[in-house]
C-alpha cells in the first residue's frame, strides 16, 4: 500500500472502487453458481463475511510470525478452519440453505477474494485495518450477490426473497435461474458498473 487510506476509505473501497466481483472480477465461481435466488446469494455473502473477517483477523495478528516461504499453506489452513465452521453452522441451523448452496460453501476455501485479501492486505497491515478491509470487501461481495440473485429471482421466478413481486400473469423467464441467466446478468451488471465509472471519471 503506497498511500495510507482513512479507515472509512479502506471500508468503502470494497463496496465500489475495488468491489471484488464488479471491479476486480474475483470470486466469480460462487457468484455465478449460487445466485439463482436472492436468499442464496445473500447467505453465500454472509458465509464469506464471516470467513473473510475471521481469517483476516488471525492472519493479520500472526503476520509477523508466519515464515514467508509457507505463508500460502498457512493462509489456507486458517481459512479452511473458518470455512468448516461456517459450513457446519449452516448445515446445523439452516439446512435448506446449506443444501441449496451445495459444495460452494466448502469451496470458499479456494475463493480468490479471501486468498487475495490475505496475500495483498491482511498479511501486511495491522489488525484494525485488516478487519475494516475484510468487512468492506465481503460486504461489497454480499451486496453484489444479493442484487444479482434478486434480478435473477425476479425475472426467473417472479419473486424477491420469496416475496411475490411480479403480477400473477407474469410468465417466469426460466433461463434466468439457469446458468445462462447468471452469465447474462453478471455481464450486464459489470457493464453497467463500468459505464457508471466511466461517467464518474469524466
Amino acid at each position: 500500500m503506497a498511500t495510507k487510506k482513512s479507515y472509512a476509505g479502506e471500508f468503502l473501497k470494497g463496496l465500489w472502487d475495488e468491489n471484488p466481483v464488479l471491479r476486480m472480477q474475483l470470486g466469480l465461481c460462487p457468484t455465478l453458481a449460487v445466485t439463482n435466488s436472492a436468499i442464496n446469494g445473500f447467505s453465500m455473502g454472509l458465509a464469506v463475511i464471516f470467513t473473510l473477517v475471521m481469517s483476516s483477523t488471525i492472519i493479520s495478528l500472526a503476520r509477523n510470525i508466519i515464515p514467508k516461504e509457507v505463508r500460502i499453506p498457512t493462509f489456507i489452513i486458517v481459512i479452511a478452519t473458518f470455512v468448516t465452521i461456517a459450513d457446519k453452522m449452516l448445515a446445523a441451523y439452516f439446512p435448506d440453505i446449506s443444501k441449496a448452496l451445495g459444495p460452494f460453501v466448502p469451496l470458499i476455501v479456494v475463493n480468490c477474494i479471501i486468498m487475495g485479501r490475505q496475500e495483498a492486505f491482511a498479511s501486511k497491515n495491522p489488525v484494525g485495518r485488516a478487519i475494516i478491509d475484510a468487512l468492506g470487501m465481503s460486504i461489497g461481495f454480499t451486496i453484489t450477490l444479493t442484487i444479482l440473485g434478486s434480478i435473477r429471482e425476479l425475472l426467473g421466478v417472479g419473486t424477491i426473497f420469496a416475496v411475490q413481486i411480479m403480477p400473477s400473469s407474469f410468465e417466469p423467464w426460466m433461463v434466468m435461474v439457469l446458468q445462462p441467466g447468471a452469465f447474462l446478468t453478471l455481464g450486464l451488471m459489470i457493464g453497467v458498473a463500468n459505464w457508471i465509472n466511466a461517467r464518474r471519471t469524466k
Binding site: E171, P172, W173, M174, V175, M176, L178, P180, L184, G191
Partner: protein, 343 residues
C-alpha cells in the same frame, strides 16, 4: 467519384501523384470532397441497406404463406417482433452515440427472421422480448452490425427457447387443417414414428414455425439470393449436402429408426436455416475453403442433434454452434497473399 472508377492498373500512378502533392494541395482536394483510395477501385451499387431489403424481399413469399397457413394473428406476431427489434435498435444506437441517419434495415430483418422461427401461437409480447434480446444482447453488445459473433435472430430464439420452453414447443395447426394443435413432422417422427407425406412437406401444409413450413417458397427466395450473390452458394450446398449424405447413411444402416434423407431436407427449419440464417454475411466464414468447413460442420451437428439429441430439431443450435467457430475457421483458412513464400 471519378477517382473511384479508375482502373486497377492506374492505381500506382495515382499513388505517386498523391505522394508528390503538397499538404496544401491535399487540403484543397479534400475540400472538393474527392475520394482518394488506394487500388483496387471498384464501383458497386451494393450497400448494406440494399442487401438487407433484398433479403427481406426474398423472405416475403414464405412470410405470406405463413400468414395464409396459420391465420392473420401470425402477421401481428411478425409486426410485434419487427417493431420491437427496430425500437431496440434505435434506442441502443442512441445509447451508444451512433448516428441513426443511415438506418440499414438489419433490425427489420432480424425481427422478421426471429418471428419466422416462432411457433404460430406464440404470445406476441414474448416475441417482442426475443427481439429486444436479439438486438440488444445479440448484436449491439458486441458492437453492432458486423461485429456480432452469433446470428442475432437465432440468439433471440435460443433465449426464448430457454425461457419459455413449453410455449416454444406448442404447435398450432395450420388453419387449413381440422385440428387445434399438431406435432411438427420432425416431432411426430421422433416421438411417434409417423411419417409426413413428401408433398405436404415440400408445399408446407404442415405444422411448424411461422416461416419454415413451405420448403418450396423458401427455396425460391433462397435461389434469388444466390443469384444476387447476397448469400454464398457454398453454404446451403454444403449444409444440405452433408445432411443428405449423413442422414442417408444412417437411413441405410437402419431405415426403421432413422428417417430418410429427403425427409431430413424438407422438414423442420433446415431450408430456412440453410438459405437465410447460416448464410448471414457477418457470422459465416469469409474464405471459400472456410465456408465448406462451416457448411459440413453445420450438417454434422444438425444430424447428431436430430438423430441422437433430446430435441426433434437442431437447426438453430447447429448454426449457433458453428457461428462460434467462424473466427477460428477464418484464421486457419486464410488465403495466401499473392507472392507469399511457401513454408
Amino acid at each position: 467519384m471519378e477517382e473511384n472508377k479508375q482502373p486497377v492498373s492506374e492505381g500506382k500512378t495515382t499513388e505517386k501523384k498523391e505522394t508528390k502533392a503538397t499538404p496544401a494541395a491535399k487540403e484543397k482536394k479534400s475540400e472538393k470532397m474527392f475520394l482518394l483510395r488506394s487500388s483496387p477501385h471498384m464501383a458497386t451499387t451494393d450497400n448494406v441497406p440494399r442487401i438487407m431489403w433484398t433479403v427481406i424481399a426474398a423472405l416475403m413469399p414464405a412470410v405470406v404463406y405463413g400468414v395464409y397457413n396459420f391465420g392473420f394473428s401470425v402477421l401481428l406476431t411478425i409486426l410485434w417482433s419487427v417493431i420491437a427489434a427496430v425500437v431496440t435498435e434505435i434506442v441502443t444506437n442512441k445509447m451508444r452515440g451512433r448516428d441513426m441517419k443511415n438506418g440499414d434495415g438489419s433490425a427489420v430483418l432480424t425481427g422478421l427472421l426471429l418471428a419466422m422461427t416462432l411457433p404460430p401461437g406464440f404470445p406476441k409480447a414474448y416475441a417482442a422480448i426475443g427481439s429486444v434480446f436479439a438486438i440488444a444482447i445479440g448484436k449491439q453488445i458486441f458492437g453492432g452490425l458486423g461485429y456480432n459473433i452469433f446470428n442475432p435472430a437465432l440468439l433471440g430464439r435460443a433465449f426464448l427457447q430457454a425461457s419459455f420452453s413449453v410455449k416454444m414447443t406448442t404447435w398450432t395447426a395450420p388453419v387449413s387443417m381440422d385440428a387445434i394443435t399438431t406435432a411438427t413432422p420432425l416431432g411426430s417422427f421422433k416421438f411417434e414414428k409417423v411419417m409426413t407425406p413428401y408433398f405436404d412437406l415440400f408445399m408446407g401444409r404442415i405444422g411448424g414455425c411461422i416461416g419454415e413450413t413451405s420448403a418450396l417458397l423458401i427455396i425460391i427466395g433462397g435461389i434469388y439470393l444466390l443469384i444476387k450473390k447476397y448469400a454464398d452458394w457454398r453454404i446451403p450446398v454444403s449444409y444440405l449436402g452433408t445432411v443428405f449424405i449423413l442422414g442417408g447413411l444412417f437411413w441405410l444402416i437402419n431405415p426403421e429408426q432413422y428417417p430418410d434423407p429427403v425427409f431430413h431436407l424438407f422438414s423442420g427449419g433446415l431450408m430456412l436455416g440453410a438459405f437465410f440464417m447460416a448464410t448471414d454475411m457477418v457470422t459465416s466464414p469469409v474464405t471459400p475453403r472456410g465456408t465448406w468447413i462451416y457448411g459440413v460442420g453445420l450438417g454434422i451437428v444438425l444430424i447428431v442433434i436430430r438423430l441422437f439429441g433430446g430435441l426433434p430439431e437442431g437447426v438453430m443450435y447447429s448454426i449457433l454452434f458453428m457461428n462460434a467457430f467462424v473466427p477460428l475457421i477464418n484464421r486457419y483458412t486464410r488465403l495466401k497473399i499473392f507472392g507469399e513464400p511457401k513454408k
